[in-house]
Symmetry: C2
């Protein structure tokens, strides 16, 4: 293990697409979808071969800090970086880089979203090891997931020439925004395109230098925080800083314009578990093709996601390709193909004055 | 009001087709499907113009006696006849006739199932008044519901000639078992066929005489009960009697072979509310064609029955023609066209050892 490598899990998301499993106060990364670890805890444990818990960090939202601490108790208390307000990933990663640069001037950050699933952790760790080699030489490295289908929900990365600095790394030809289906099919048939999974590896100094060059308002605001690190006025300085700029993603704000980026392709069985219809990557389908959690009665029912609440029973008769998510106080029925429309339910709950279910 | 007319509600059913709203200990007649009265209470109140509460009776199952008493508190305590075991409708009606003959030798029984719905109670009461006229002259009268569709779930009654004893009553040409769709369509196009709703009007003496003639084992067993009426050994005599014969329906055991039957046709907006897909007769559909109870979010959802449990929320997105029944501890999803298959859920619950949800 390289002693300068630190795991940084970005856990600020809300995961509204998993309602009613996820809630305002219980976001997706705190769900134990497979019945064991939470997604957050699993994110750390699957890269334990890369860095031990003493070098684990996480950036969390204010409202979920306590829940994240409880879900990932092996993260040292001083390594839980709390965002005063959500400002998307570039400020979150910049803040983590600030903290790490202060404790380890040669820190290499392995930046991971908190709510994804990886079926082959060893392959992920191997790709990270490759990425670290390039990162130590100044690159911001992104992992490129070998695409298995013409997915239109992800951005793509077109590989360029092999990067001579690290075997297995490639220059990035270009970043491609989420394509339509035709373009996505073209990417797959042409080859050389990988999914952008939001997994980045870079030195803290590289990140801060790119922030300074590309997002000077963010960099400038974080400069005031740097001076307050470990001091009583840290929290107020951080709040002032985060309230001074708008949210911006690391992909858009940093990666697309970065001077030195490369990609390490990997087939590690990655999924962003983006919505209810992706639950089958975490929980295998049974013989009837259903993903079943809890006390469920299935009769003439196929291709469904059926989630019973603890202590309750869920019975499905004669239905197909539906998600039925039962929780203690809310049940959702939606065809898996329309799982994205869950957002509309949340709006309607607010409009109806039923925000206790959000 | 005719002082010899008594209302007898047969409330021994279990209503498994309404699971999870109905349960072993909370049968369909105890449900307040429309949000107000229970079906049992509504059965009495809609015929209050025929006879006052002092002449209301009900026959209930042992396990539901307390619940039925609480749901219909206006029924005099002495008029709650408890069956020791369920033996279908002929013994239940025979037992009621036995009780009534003892208190009123000229009693006319208006026998009503406990779990049906009638949209126009005045029309029902008018038909009963007609039936009483014929019944007092010795007929067993059945109400014939003017059919509105070629229903295959009900028996039919073919009308014969007008019965001279009561204007509006007809001789019964024949009783027809539940037909297939083709025959049912034929009944409707031919005319002169009514649905058999299980509503009967007859003198207690007529019922007992037909029992003696057609079901001598039942009549004989009830004879021992007659001697025990009002005595300490009533319950044990009743248990002995009911355990001595097999169950038999009043339709099959008495009506089909009775010497003097007639039918009074009526269009009173009757429904047996036989399963979840009939809930729209009790609760009107909204503009989206959904029957909605409780806190329900409907998005792009049509033709559904959506029942939220108290204190819970139910969200349906992009589905059609489904029943989604959420209760405190059980949720059912089934296409309305397959609502009959709910019975299979109950079997499966038992097989899985989840009988606490039955």
């Amino acid at each position: 293990m390289n002693p300068n490598v630190h795991i940084v899990v970005i856990a600020g998301g809300s995961g509204t697409r998993f309602w009613p499993l996820s809630r305002r106060r219980h976001p997706k990364q705190l769900l134990a979808l497979g019945g064991g670890d939470t997604l957050l805890a699993a994110t750390f444990t699957r890269v334990e071969a890369v860095a031990p818990p003493s070098r684990w960090w996480m950036v969390v939202g204010k409202g979920h800090a306590q829940g994240c601490r409880e879900a990932a108790p092996r993260v040292p208390a001083a390594h839980v970086v709390v965002e005063p307000v959500a400002r998307n990933t570039a400020p979150a990663i910049g803040l983590a880089a600030l903290h790490l640069a202060a404790v380890d001037p040669d820190a290499v950050l392995v930046i991971l979203p908190a709510d994804h699933h990886v079926a082959q952790p060893a392959a992920l760790c191997a790709a990270i090891d490759t990425a670290v080699v390039a990162a130590k030489q100044g690159a911001i490295v992104t992992l490129g997931i070998t695409p298995s289908r013409p997915e239109t929900g992800y951005g793509y990365i077109q590989r360029g020439a092999a990067d001579p600095r690290a075997a297995g790394a490639f220059k990035v030809q270009r970043f491609c925004e989420k394509p339509d289906l035709e373009r996505a099919r073209g990417f797959l048939s042409q080859g050389g395109y990988d999914w952008n999974a939001g997994i980045f590896v870079a030195r803290a100094q590289t990140i801060l230098a790119e922030l300074e060059r590309q997002l000077p308002p963010v960099y400038g605001a974080l400069g005031a925080v740097r001076g307050a690190l470990g001091k009583p006025d840290y929290e107020s300085a951080l709040a002032t800083a985060f309230n001074s700029f708008a949210g911006v993603s690391f992909d858009y704000g940093i990666m697309e314009g970065a001077r030195d980026v490369c990609v390490v392709p990997t087939s590690c069985g990655w999924s962003d578990v983006g919505s209810l219809d992706a639950l089958d990557v975490v929980i295998p389908r049974n013989a009837a093709g259903n993903v079943v959690v809890g006390r469920v009665v299935e009769i003439d029912t196929h291709g469904c996601v059926l989630h019973a609440a603890p202590g309750q029973v869920l019975a499905a008769v004669g239905v197909s390709d539906l998600a039925v998510i039962q929780t203690a106080d809310a049940t959702l029925i939606v065809p898996l193909s329309k799982a994205q429309q869950v957002r509309e339910v949340l709006e309607r709950l607010g409009e109806n004055g039923w925000s206790e279910y959000l």
